[in-house]
């Protein structure tokens, strides 16, 4: 292929100068064009992030547990396995609640034991 074919010089569309002049005369900063170009992309990115957050939170048992208890208790993290069997006395039935916390695995569920009378 010849040099002139590789670097063929094309004619630009007509009225370029007139168009530029009219845009300059109109004081066309065109900042909104840039915003309009970026806005849909930003919207899509935000929507993707939102979906990820919603899906992640929905499957997060800790996040679900937050609906059932105070922040301070959640901050403790995963408690060590108790050495003794946890027993709820008859006296404590009115102050103890058992909440099922589902996980992504349908065969696995946590049970959240809340008690106002439990002492360490």
């Amino acid at each position: 292929m010849k040099h002139d074919e590789i670097f063929e010089r094309l004619e630009p569309p007509h009225n370029g100068l007139a168009r530029l002049r009219s845009r300059i005369d109109a004081g066309d900063d065109r900042w909104w064009v840039s915003v309009a170009r970026v806005a849909p992309l930003a919207f899509v990115a935000a929507a993707i992030v939102l979906v990820i957050i919603v899906v992640t939170r929905r499957n997060d048992p800790i996040a679900e547990a937050r609906h059932h208890t105070g922040t301070a208790e959640i901050a403790l993290g995963i408690a060590p396995m108790p050495t003794e069997t946890v027993a709820v006395d008859d006296d404590a039935r009115t102050t103890t609640a058992l909440t099922e916390v589902r996980t992504t695995n349908p065969n696995v569920a946590f049970y959240w034991v809340s008690s106002t009378s439990w002492k360490q």
């Binding site: 292929m1 040099h3 074919e5 590789i6 569309p13 370029g16 530029l20």
Partner: protein, 174 residues
Amino acid sequence: MWSELRRDECPLDQATLERAYIKLEKPMFNIVYRWLWNASDAQEVCQEAFLKVWNARERVDVTTLEPLLYRTALNLASNRRRSARVWRWLGLEAAEEETSAARTGEEAVNATRLRAAIEALPERLREVIMLAELAEMSYGEIAETLSIPVGTVGSRRNAALAALAETLGSSEES
């Protein structure tokens, strides 16, 4: 080649910008076209470059107007190309590149090959070769435009020519 505008004194006025447009429209259009492969997009990017420089005219040094315009146009073309790829990837924008439908069979094949060869060049090589061949800039002017050493301009030009020759077969002259 930049001496014409360098005679003008600051600040940048509309007449100076229009003179620059008349002088640079065709080479700049041809360079930007090799990024976007669409005539109206290429013209739009050239106009945006001039408008951007015009909107920043208080800070523009007229003595470096041409390299500034070229640099701005190259940046805009590169950004638009990237943005078009993202949109296409997301499936939200149809490919708008011009086809070679108007050309004959052999010409269309050559045009496709040529485009693929140019597309395969990394941008840093493409900038140099297009400024050298289509804007007929000297190595010094290209170095000033792209803010790279003169030696780098030479090596990138040679690398670009070698890559094109390899992809397209031997070129009669370089």
